[in-house]
Symmetry: C2
């Protein structure tokens, strides 16, 4: 005969599984991993897609430099090692959000094939979707929204992707968006169709 | 006259604010920070509360050793410095989930006042609720669900809270649950009443 106190220690975890959360949300969890040069439109696209998904009643979260680089990864710089750790932590957080049944949009340059490969492994191949924002370097440089290319060319920023550090384009991305040449809304529509085709949303 | 390409670079972030997400979820975001000795019932309570909140249609996430210590914080040990960094990362992740309009239940020993204070600062005083699982050390030792106390006493685990490392109880917790002496369901009911009183849920 168990004492009442012992009832407290019953293992009581994991009842609310990912699939239960997805049932509540009425869509599946997934990670859309946007990759591309600085200025290629990753964050802009992710946020525009989020606007549309919100209208449709979906639970989403954008992870980008704005909410990660100053917080969770505020202790990291831009050395190869730190970039690697940056991507690892982002992958882990994206994974947690996905387990919560949400659609995660990550918007980081993530220039190295090997890091994106690791993100895919960690998140799981069936839930990880690589979205390539394919925008010519010249266009990104012309935009130079944050003035970073100018600084990089003057040597004020070191290890800047496309200028002083390589960008390795995806070999076989799930979706390529010519984000330098097409109107934003067209790209968003294509992403919505993609999510529907993958049966992540209805 | 802007070229169509230029339309792509419009800053398009932040439309989906926390309050919009909360409106969709029909409850507020918040962080319930469970603290207490190993075996005091933190995870059990958090998961039992999550079961109830799920029934009520709330969006929640439990962060505990199971999904954080092996993942995001898998590179950290149990030195004072590593514990500090562990709590910092958990706070940042809890904060992201809260921004997504969710109710986050963190279940970590988090033995040091200063670390919990930092978590509160990072998350924001109005959204951070310290829940003290107040269970006598003897009860925790008797339970010893994972056999950790035995190992700690034999010196196999170093820096074990309550045995070879201090636990600093909350000075002014938002809620104290005598989790060693009361049935689990009573504690859950009290937590639900607490969330209603704080107008986090209806």
């Amino acid at each position: 005969m168990k004492k009442p106190e012992e009832l407290n220690i019953t293992r009581h975890r994991g009842n609310i599984t990912r699939s239960k959360r997805e049932a509540l949300n009425q869509h599946k969890g997934a990670v859309l991993w946007f990759t591309g040069l600085s200025g290629s439109g990753k964050s802009t696209l992710a946020h525009a897609l989020e606007d549309k998904l919100y209208e449709m009643g979906c639970r989403t979260m954008v992870l980008d430099g704005d909410n990660v680089r100053h917080g969770l990864c505020g202790d990291l710089g831009f050395s190869d090692e730190d970039r690697k750790e940056n991507i690892r932590r982002i992958s882990e957080v994206a994974n947690l959000f996905m387990e919560a049944g949400m659609i995660i949009l990550t918007a980081f340059i993530s220039p190295f094939l090997s890091d994106r490969e690791k993100a895919k492994e960690l998140i799981g191949e069936e839930d990880f979707f690589e979205i390539y924002c394919d925008c010519p370097l010249e266009t990104c440089e012309d935009r130079d929204v944050k003035g970073l290319y100018k600084k990089a060319k003057q040597g004020e920023i070191k290890n800047f992707t496309g200028i002083s550090s390589p960008y390795e384009p995806p070999v076989n991305p799930h979706l390529t968006l010519k984000s330098g040449a097409r109107p934003l809304q067209e790209c968003v529509d294509e992403l919505i169709s993609f999510l529907q085709a993958k049966e992540i949303i209805r």
